[in-house]
Amino acid sequence: MKLEALALALGWMALTGDGSPAAAVFGLGLGLALLRLSKPLGGEGFARVRLHRLPGFALFFAREIVVSNLKVAAAVLAPAGRLRPAIVAVPLRLDRDAEIALLADLITLTPGTLSLDVSSDRRTLYVHAMSTQSPDELRHEIRDGFERRILEVFR
């Protein structure tokens, strides 16, 4: 909660372009108020955030994004040979809403994959891939890639 409020305060300062302490205080106050307001929404946030691991995580993500876009570019420009789409069920170790959402979002934002659905028991994520050799390979990639890193940062 405190961290989220801080993030909102930063957001306020970014929006207004005002870095003054007054703006920070106002932003924090507003952030706290808004979070309080959002409280009834419930839902599960992250269990914790290991701030020091965040930069590494971001870097990894940025790299994945760039790579992914290049792959997509290739696929778009010459789709015929390169497409081997599949919808793959990925079993999840993550179990908090926020974690699942983050994983799904990252999968969507990165190369050739798209989170289609989450099973109602939240144990399985269904991922659409543009081009995959085998479903198991994709499952493995996700488990060892994003999912592991999320566990590292947010557990």
Partner: protein, 139 residues
């Protein structure tokens, strides 16, 4: 029925305060830059509308806490009251009066700003009232 999924739920949780903050931002600076009560109210309504779409109107109602029509009444009351003080003092209705010194962050405060707040509340209230009623009907 809602668009229930952990992904959408989490997104809503994140976007709600952010969007509301943006709506406050639009309201606050509207007197000096693009923005103001109307668009501020609409953006705030969009935030609640998202909750409505994703988690259903029960959640959205809980979130809003007050009946949207009460919000409308409060907004109209605020707008009306912002014009009354000069009237009672024998002046013209809606004559603006301002604090002499601007406050940090929010800038100068005056009855027209209060009026804009009223507009904000009304717009938020009516949009939510309409959406709730339609969503209720849709079931």
């Amino acid at each position: 029925m809602t668009l229930d999924s952990p992904i959408l739920r989490s997104a809503t949780r994140l976007l709600l305060p952010l969007t509301l903050m943006f709506s406050v931002f639009l309201l606050v600076r509207g007197h000096n830059e693009p923005g103001g009560g109307f668009v501020g109210g609409l953006v705030a309504a969009a935030a609640f509308a998202l909750v409505l779409l994703v988690q259903g109107q029960g959640a959205a109602r809980d979130l809003l806490r007050v009946d949207p029509l009460s919000l409308v009444a409060a907004g109209l009351f605020t707008a009306l009251c912002s014009g009354l003080p000069p009237l009672l003092a024998g002046g013209a209705f809606m004559t603006g009066s301002w604090l002499k010194t601007p406050l940090p962050v929010v800038g100068k405060l005056g009855t027209p700003v209060l009026f804009d707040v009223g507009v904000f509340l009304v717009v938020l209230g009516i949009t939510m009232a309409i959406l709730f009623a339609l969503a209720e009907e849709e079931r």
